[in-house]
């Protein structure tokens, strides 16, 4: 508790408070803006890690994360075209509400639900992270190796619709991670001295998130303007409150644990929350036509999952979402390695960050309720400027790593890969996680086998490692069974006439 109070002292200094406000505003803005999500924004802001204090930068990034989760809901409700996968479910009822003239109530329940879920989630994070770190600190290299394998496997095989494409993305990422120098030899550098230290992950992240997305949008730019539903000041009636508070709490209960799991993310809990609310509602006739429960629950779930994501990130150093992965990159830029020792070694930083999450949440509520009409205006920004701006800041971010045109060329090449990934439906997250975790998995394996003098049995010598392998086996069986079941429903493709598709 004292640590948390000290944390508030860190977070409430004028500088850090300013960074929190900037983070929350930026996060909400990019959540609202089409084409940009929190992961891309943090990636574009990575250059600030070269000069801004670590605590300030991380406080800002956390604000962007929470703000982005909230901002996405505004777009879903007012536009019916969710940008972030975590707000797909919100659009189902939220946009219907807006069309019925209840946009203000939809935005209000989303904002207040996000605040409540985020606050509860952060409390759980404050309680859990140090305890988990205490457990994790006793683990050796074999357990780390197993946990990282599980993270790679889970992110790839459990999320996303196509496992094959997940693995393609993962192994492309691992291949990028191979580039560099190992035991004094250049690996996959093609004789290029500038690749000897590997490709800076800032460039990979910016290229895949920002350039790939901008190019993909450029190829499919919507030519007709979108219908935006005008909105006034968000507010809720007494009956709206009565119908919202239980979904908020249930959404939080779904969101947090899923966020904390290696393959949780926000998609599954928002969807579960929606189904639950539809089943439990006293107004089943409204579902599909704009039921407030269908906005309250999923919105709480996605903010709670954002808080949950920070548990494995801080306690183990494992990123489970794209935004968490980029925040991890930021920490590594500072020479910080999140994990069990991280909390003990940097108490000021960590507790300042945790305290700032409470502040970010409160700021979100205070800022977003009155500013909703302003955010809605952001949706009208001319698209050429929006995407030209994204390309501009992406290039600036990559160039500022080394001031080298070579980095910009790399940005372009990997950006084209990002474009191809969107064309072929390859998920982005496994690639980024592969680039980050690939080299660390190699380190942990080397360390484990060096201690055991090459005895492979050491890999399953720790109980945690054994448990993790069992979980992986169960996941594997589960996905195979689910795949079989889905395959059985589909008609046999062999007997159907062929049709060529040009691309």
């Amino acid at each position: 508790m004292d640590l948390l109070l000290d944390g508030f002292a860190t977070a409430l200094t004028p500088t850090n408070l300013l960074f929190a406000v900037i983070g929350v505003l930026l996060g909400t803005a990019v959540g609202v803006l089409p084409g940009i999500g929190p992961a891309m924004t943090v990636a574009l802001l990575l250059p600030v890690t070269y000069s801004v204090e670590p605590s300030s930068a991380l406080i800002m990034f956390a604000g962007i994360y929470y703000g982005g989760m909230y901002g996405g809901s505004t777009t879903s409700i007012l536009l019916n075209t969710p940008g972030e996968s975590s707000s797909v479910v919100t659009a189902l009822e939220g946009n219907k509400m807006a069309k019925n003239g209840r946009a203000a109530q939809a935005l209000a329940t989303a904002a207040i639900g996000s605040f409540i879920a985020g606050t509860i989630g952060t409390v759980l994070l404050v309680i859990l992270a140090p305890n988990i770190a205490d457990l994790v600190v006793k683990l050796g290299a074999p357990s780390y190796f197993a946990i990282m394998l599980l993270a790679l496997f889970a992110v790839t095989a459990v999320l996303g619709s196509s496992k094959l494409r997940g693995f393609v993305a993962l192994f492309l990422g691992l291949a990028i991670g191979l580039i560099g120098t190992t035991t004094g030899q250049a690996r996959l550098t093609f004789g290029e001295a500038k690749l000897a230290d590997g490709i800076d992950i800032v460039i990979v992240a910016v290229a895949i998130f920002a350039i790939g997305e901008a190019l993909w949008v450029a190829a499919h730019l919507r030519r007709k303007p979108l219908d935006i539903i005008p909105v006034g000041q968000p507010w809720m009636s007494k009956s709206d409150w009565g119908r919202s508070w239980k979904p908020w709490l249930r959404g939080t209960a779904f969101g947090f644990p899923f966020g904390a799991l290696p393959a949780g993310g926000a998609e599954v809990p928002t969807f579960l929350s929606y189904i639950t609310e539809r089943r439990l509602t006293k107004h089943p006739e409204e579902f599909g036509k704009g039921a407030i429960e269908g906005v309250a629950g999923p919105e709480a779930a996605n903010n709670a999952s954002a808080a949950g994501t920070l548990v494995p990130l801080l306690a183990i150093g494992l990123p489970t979402t794209a935004t968490a992965a980029v925040i991890l990159v930021a920490m590594q830029n500072y020479g910080l390695q999140p994990g069990p020792q991280f909390l003990d070694a940097n108490p000021k930083l960590v507790w300042g960050l945790l305290a700032s999450l409470f502040i970010a949440n409160t700021l979100l509520l205070v800022i977003n309720l009155p500013l909703a009409p302003v955010w809605a205006k952001l949706l009208q920004i001319p698209r050429p400027y929006l995407y030209a701006g994204i390309l501009f800041f992406a290039s600036l971010g990559a160039y500022s790593v080394n001031f080298d045109a070579f980095d910009l060329a790399l940005l372009g090449v990997i950006g084209v890969l990002g474009l191809a990934m969107r064309r072929f439906g390859l998920p982005v997250l496994p690639l980024i996680i592969g680039v980050i975790l690939g080299p660390r998995i190699e380190d942990q394996l080397t360390q484990a086998l060096a201690i055991s003098q090459g005895d492979v049995a050491t890999l399953w010598s720790e109980p945690v490692a054994v448990v993790v392998y069992i979980v992986m086996a169960l996941l594997l069986v589960g996905t195979v069974v689910a795949g079989r079941r889905a395959g059985a429903v589909q008609p046999d493709p062999e007997n159907q006439n062929k049709q060529e598709v040009s691309a």
Partner: protein, 177 residues
């Protein structure tokens, strides 16, 4: 549901007829090439120290082999009628074909940026990047574009230099800025 355009979306309803997304063979070929390059590179690496438990080529062999395997799996899946679920978004209209000409023009702008940045510096090239890409993407207000682009590149240059203490090379404008 007949799909004849180049953008095919499987969607929740299964396509009636078998569709072969030929471009996916290209992706499979790309994976094969990457896998081959990784394997070839791994084969060229020397052993590390005598007691090195994980040799530098070990991960290369595993990753390269899996990439080759995935390439074969993807080719087979494509042949069996597996289609891409292309990514959707607020500003993305998948009902029309892909506009690769726009992407190519953006590529040209970007190549010019890469080629000239060391010489001209960020302030000029950044403004060119903004104006060029905005124009390619359909902006028709050249004067306004140039004004915004110049303001952005100068603001970021000074912002990085003064605010963040990151001295971005000024290029030909060295001494002017």
């Amino acid at each position: 549901m007949t799909i004849a355009t180049e953008k095919t979306l499987a969607g929740p309803e299964p396509a009636r007829s078998k569709v072969v997304d030929t471009a996916q063979y290209g992706l499979a070929a790309f994976l094969l090439v990457v896998g081959g390059v990784v394997l070839n590179d791994a084969a060229g690496l020397e052993k590390g120290f005598a007691d090195q438990p994980v040799q530098p080529y070990a991960f290369g062999f595993v990753i390269g082999t899996v990439l080759v395997l995935l390439s074969v799996l993807l080719a087979v899946a494509t042949w069996r009628g597996d289609v891409t679920e292309a990514e959707d978004g607020e500003d993305i209209d998948l009902t029309h074909g892909s506009d690769w000409a726009t992407v190519a023009k953006l590529g040209v702008v970007f190549v010019i940026v890469v080629a000239t940045i060391s010489w001209l510096g960020w302030a000029i090239v950044g403004a060119f990047l903004f104006v060029g890409t905005a124009r390619v993407l359909g902006s028709r207000t050249l004067i306004l574009d140039i004004a915004i682009g110049t303001a952005l590149s100068l603001l970021t240059w000074y912002g990085f230099y003064v605010g963040l203490g990151i001295p971005i090379p000024a290029g030909v404008l060295d001494g002017v800025l």
